[in-house]
Amino acid sequence: MNALGLLLPELILLVGALLVFLLDVAYDTDRESGASYGLVSGLFLVVAFLAAFFQMSLEPQQAFMMDIDAFAAFIKMTVFAGMALVALAGGRYMNRRTYNQGEFWTFFLIVSLAMSILAGANNLVLIYITIELLSITSYMLAAFFRDELRSAEAGMKYFLYGSVASAVMLYGLSFIYGAVGSLDLREVAGFFVQPDLTEELRVAMIPATLLALAGFAFKASLAPFYQWAPDTYEGSPTPVTTYLSTASKAAAFAVMARFFVVGLSALDVEWVPILAGLSILTMTMGNLAALRQNNVKRLLAYSSVAHAGYILMGLVAVAANAASGMDGLNGVLLYLFAYLFTNVGAFVSLMAVEETTGSVEMEAFQGLIHRAPWLAGMFTLFLLSLAGIPATGGFLGKFFVFGAAVQHQYYWLVAIALVNAGIAAFYYLRIIRTMYFGSQEDAGSRLELPLGMQATLLICTLATLWIGLYPPQVLDWVNTASQQILTAVLF
């Protein structure tokens, strides 16, 4: 029973998902029930968040092939916070557009559950199955507006890319199993530090790692596996896009961190250059593509690809005992946490504009400041945070990630990243310019935002500023989390 207690956040979500599902079966579907399902889902997410918060202070331990440590708990907090915000902001959006509200909220909670397990999984089987659960549920959510061509296309593309990626990943994992004879990440790590490890076997793990990386990179939308992302992000229902680009990414990075930093720590000579290359490729491709976009949803999609590249820098620069407290891993966590609130905020702003004007093109943002000054202000803050302007959460995340890279003396990597940040700032500022300096003639009437969105925007704004201006608490969390992983690692 004690071991089950360690799974409390997951159990809460499971109960929530099944409850919503059964409620939906038990009662006749009518369009009014969606709000209550959303409310129930939000409540369960909040309770799960509290359980994860409680887990932060536990001693690291294991239960059912899952690590219950501060790292997992912090990722869970990030994910649950993101999902709860999406539920708060996007619930009304979804409920008004679909008849299948019960199924939507069930899937929503199951996606959260999958990400939560992924944060702690330390066994290749569990990692694979959970990635499948997350992916398959996400395919369905992406295609949830099945009558809309774009949504169907989004789901289809996601599904086709995803099924190939996960098959390739499984192939790679099977090679690792063939070499090690165990699926447990700690045993994998132990195997590769053996002194009598042959050089051939070490080299042989490069293709295996590359294949496995394809699956992880797909989930985190890293180049060259990001092509699905813009189409899927654009076509999916906006709440789904929001969690795909934030929470889902956090889970993917968590599992990558555990796989590389814990499982393959002894092979860092092999995987660090690979990840560094992917990082450069991802941020450059994402930013260059984002430059030319006129559709803001698509622009944010490409920018989220670019951000995955920055986050990956933290993994490249991971170090067990860093002098300055920037060990790379805490940069990743901090970046993910700050990016979550910022990007959820940005997408919710987008959703607000979409709700009221029905368009996500650049023109819809023309003169937004006159129609919804608060919204425009907050959106500006989120864009600045995405660009990494000081005093915002995004800055702190970039600072830690870049700092870790500098400390490793990866100057070329940092140089490329800085150039990229400059490019990114340009297109973020373009949106801001449109909002403020657009002509006033075609500015429409004032926008009225629903209460849920207002609340979400406010929370995101406060969180972004909180992380940017007064970070000690967050830094404390991410340092505990990264230290618990890194002290156990055999670098």
Binding site: L7, E10, L14, F21, T29, F64, M65, M66, Y99, N100, E103, T106, F107, I110, L113, A114, I117, N123, V125, L126, I129, T130, E132, L133, I136, T137, Y139, M140, A143, R146, G155, G178, A179, V180, G181, T198, E200, L201, A204, P207
Partner: protein, 173 residues
């Protein structure tokens, strides 16, 4: 004059099963009729089950037949039969990419052979005694150590089922 090695009974059976598997696998790709491809796929699954038997993994073999031949392939044939216009004739034509695909597949095969052949894979850790206790232990592991994995799989199947119906059903409630 070198003496020709006389193949043992097991080797002969292995070669037969392996040839059957490979030829059916090739047939899946080459067959011009979609339904024939599906049937050959079932045959391939069957051949793989035969290989499992050769490895003395009867449980795995029977499970393979049960799931892949009995359920997956049946479902595929069922889906093809339900699809209009995919019944007879050349329903699985070559497209313009087939040359590149064949080349890539060949290179992949060569690379894989080189890769797998060039590595000293560690020997398996222990021989497993094929007895009934094996299945019992497998079951026990599934509900203890792999409990979360098992539950996640159950959840995955439920979600897939609900989602498939949701996305495919015709009427609006």
């Amino acid at each position: 004059m070198p003496t020709l090695p006389v193949p043992t009974f097991t080797q002969v059976v292995f070669v037969l099963i392996a040839a059957f598997t490979v030829i059916s696998g090739l047939g899946v790709v080459v067959a011009r009729n979609l339904f024939h491809s599906a049937l050959l796929l079932a045959a391939t699954f069957f051949g793989v089950a035969g290989l499992y038997v050769m490895l003395e993994a009867e449980f795995l073999a029977v499970t393979q037949i049960l799931i892949y031949v009995g359920a997956v392939a049946t479902l595929i044939t069922f889906a093809i039969m339900l699809t209009r216009g995919a019944m007879h004739g050349e329903t699985n034509p070559l497209n313009r990419q087939w040359g590149k695909a064949a080349l890539f597949a060949f290179l992949f095969l060569v690379g894989l052979l080189g890769y797998l052949g060039g590595i000293p894979w560690p020997a398996p850790f222990q021989a497993i005694q094929a007895d009934e206790g094996l299945i019992a232990r497998l079951g026990e592991q599934l509900v203890t150590r792999y409990m979360v994995s098992l539950e996640v799989m159950g959840l995955l199947l439920m979600v897939a089922l609900v989602g498939a119906i949701l996305l495919a059903r015709d009427d609006k409630p």
